[in-house]
């Protein structure tokens, strides 16, 4: 049985920040990551981040990942386990983990769950043809392994992930046949869409995919117009020849561990699905379980990093590790987070949060 003060599950932007800030305050942290490398989705983000300096704005996601990974490795209070899958959280506080294939048990005093989110998919005929990917897979192929996913690709979804990955595809030398978006307007930041448009990438709004075609692999897709009731308009079908199709149709929080630990969950469509109820200090309805990042509601990585910092600082303080600067740092992070969420681009997030953030107790 491994004993540690804080177990952080997931080493993406939220988990890394949580571990770093908890350990800096003096807590002993075990940081476990399912993958064989740290950084989560950050390592695939070749674009510069938005936000302010405090969230590394203007720096590329992959460079931010490197900074956080180096920082977490330099702090002696953090033990890092890669290839470590958390299997279960038991009522007596024992956590079971498969680490490098070996079964381990741990008994942490507090747990911060930062497992992130998984991609949603879409149902349409032939959606299992080779050549059809989620946006995360496309990024892994291109930006981690240096492999182009296709010669000519169609993107489904014009949210920030869709427009960003489409731009990265252009950079990799892939022809982007267009972006298909069911809503009447682009959901991602307009500056991202503008980058694509000035390179001649068409954005097809109020359109959906109807079917993929091909025998042994993808050869083309049919898209169709949607009316104001989101129903396909008969006769509006259009065939687009492509050997790649990329789905960027949203994310769902990866909440299995929270369900299993009996945290109270609530559905908030604005946050991507079921998320845990929690207070402003990121504490769930379970006394010892905290959350940070996309698992608590799908949002930008900048917000995930600040949430991780908040959770890390707070949990360390609960365990008696309170830096002199705690109050100041904690309040600064809180105001940073509310500033990020104060604009019109965050209205949806705030609506979702109003459903799941509990009044502060004590």
């Amino acid at each position: 049985m491994i004993t540690t003060e804080i177990l952080v599950i997931g080493a993406g932007p939220a988990g890394l920040m949580a571990a770093i800030h908890a350990a800096e305050a003096g807590a002993k942290v075990l940081l476990v990551e399912r993958a064989d490398r740290l950084g989560g989705q950050l390592i695939k983000q070749t674009h510069k981040f938005f936000g302010s300096k405090a969230e590394f704005a203007g720096e590329r996601g992959m460079d931010i990942a490197e900074k956080l990974i180096n920082q977490s490795s330099d702090i002696s209070g953090i033990t890092i386990w890669k290839n470590a899958v958390v299997l279960g959280i038991y009522p007596d506080g024992v956590v079971t983990i498969s680490h490098e294939g070996a079964f381990c048990t741990a008994r942490p005093k507090k747990i911060i769950i930062a497992t992130g989110a998984s991609e949603k998919t879409m149902a349409f005929p032939n959606n299992d043809l080779p050549g059809i990917y989620g946006a995360g897979a496309v990024q892994t192929l291109m930006n981690v392994h240096g492999v182009i996913p296709a010669k000519r690709i169609l993107m489904i979804g014009a949210g920030n992930i869709g427009v960003i990955v489409a731009y990265q595809l252009l950079q990799a030398g892939v022809e982007v046949a267009g972006i298909v978006e069911a809503a009447p307007q682009v959901g991602g930041y307009r500056v991202h869409a503008a980058k694509l448009q000035r390179h001649g990438v068409p954005i097809y709004t109020s359109r959906t995919i109807q079917a993929a075609h091909g025998t042994s692999c993808l050869e083309g897709v049919t898209i169709a117009k949607l009316d104001e009731n989101w129903q396909p308009v008969p006769g509006s079908e259009q065939y687009i020849p492509v050997d790649g199709l990329c789905l960027a149709v949203g994310l769902s929080p990866l909440t299995e561990l929270l369900w299993q630990a009996n945290c109270e969950m609530k559905f908030a469509a604005e946050l991507g699905g079921y998320v845990p109820l929690r207070d402003a200090n990121m504490k769930t309805t379970h006394e010892d379980i905290y959350v940070a990042g996309d698992v608590s509601g799908v949002e930008e990585a900048s917000a995930a990093m600040v949430e991780g910092k908040l959770a890390g600082l707070y949990v360390a303080s609960v365990l008696g590790h309170k830096k002199d600067s705690f109050t100041k740092e904690f309040q600064t992070a809180k105001s940073q987070l509310s500033a990020l969420r104060s604009g019109p681009a965050s209205v949806k997030i705030c609506t979702g949060l109003s459903k799941v953030v509990l009044e502060e107790v004590g």
Binding site: K53, Y189, R198, G343, P344
Partner: protein
Amino acid sequence: MPSQERFAKGPIALFECMQQIPCNPCADACPRGAITVKEINDCPSLNEELCNGCGVCMTHCPGLSIFVVDYTYGKDVALVKIPYEFSPLPEAKTVVDALNRQGQCIGTSEVIRVQTSPNKTNIIWLSVPRELAMEVRSIRLRKEEDHES
């Protein structure tokens, strides 16, 4: 949009950043303190007298939405600086296709200078016909056969 008088004084940054999103690296980047983003979700505002069109903000803008236009560059041509994150980079003194905001080719342009940046947002200086200075926002490198024709 700067006035005719301001354009007549020399290069100036243009912000094609019209949506309120949480972002302010341009304000931190400007060595002359010419850019203000009051609340992080505000669009940037530029002090046109302080701005000298140096283009440092262009390399920092995550949205690649800042351009520099200099109408004083030549008699018939203006200078347009665009951010560029593609490989290969064009070479100075070559002719490239000039694209507008919709990606349509609206003419050709000579590459004057290529400023590489450690953060990989490079700046391409383009000489374009004056009347296209507010239109040209991207380029496409020409293939060998384009040069010959």
